[in-house]
Amino acid sequence: MIQLTDQPLDYTAITESVRDPAAGAVVLFLGTVRDFTAGEQTQQLEYEAYQQMAESSLKQLADEASTHFPIVKAAIVHRLGVLQPGDVAVAIAVSTPHRAQAFAAGQWLIDTLKQRVPIWKREHYTDGRVLWQHPAAATDAAAGQSGGT
């Protein structure tokens, strides 16, 4: 199961999709919206994707992970649209024969997703500021946006 969706993530269905009697380990990772980041209170997060490229990029990610780790099955689902603190933004499930492989594969998948897959988040703070988040410079204020630090 590899998809983008604007609906709440059903992480149980995502986990079930990777379960397999050939696997002794399943790791599920959930990326959830934190209420406070670096002392700033988040009211909501807004996720936008380049959908076509993001979908093919998620598929490539799963294929590439299978060349690095003995993955039995993998699933990646990312939510788009407006999320509140506590909501699940991304769910990654992976099954492997042994446990260390499942942790390594799950971590590689989320780390690489965050580096490569064309999805962006915009943070709406409780004080009214709205900022695009970028990994290298979270407070980088791009021209044209409705706020800045």
């Binding site: 990326g31 997703l113 915009r122 695009w132 970028h134 044209g144």
Partner: protein
């Protein structure tokens, strides 16, 4: 769907907001390298210039190097560093 003789350029996130549009159509007279498209975009979309050293570029849904050949009808995308997850 894009007529021969043009390249579609898509913009996302802060890049889209910086230039105020999600899409541009650039006329091309034949195959060109990505660098040439990038220069045309930055000339037409001055708002992007402050971001230019951080922009990422893709051609037909794949990240692309500056020397990538672009054919008429191809889709180029331009966006800031990704921040999903």
């Amino acid at each position: 769907m894009t007529p021969s003789g043009t390249v579609t350029v898509l913009f996302f996130a802060a890049a889209r907001e910086a230039i105020g549009t999600a899409e541009l159509s650039l006329p091309v007279s034949g195959p060109v390298i990505l660098t040439e498209i990038q220069q045309q975009v930055l000339q037409r979309a001055i708002g992007l210039q402050p971001l230019q050293h951080r922009l990422l570029w893709a051609v037909n849904n794949q990240y692309a190097l500056p020397a990538t050949m672009i054919q008429p009808g191809d889709t180029v995308a331009c966006f800031p560093p990704v921040s999903g997850g």
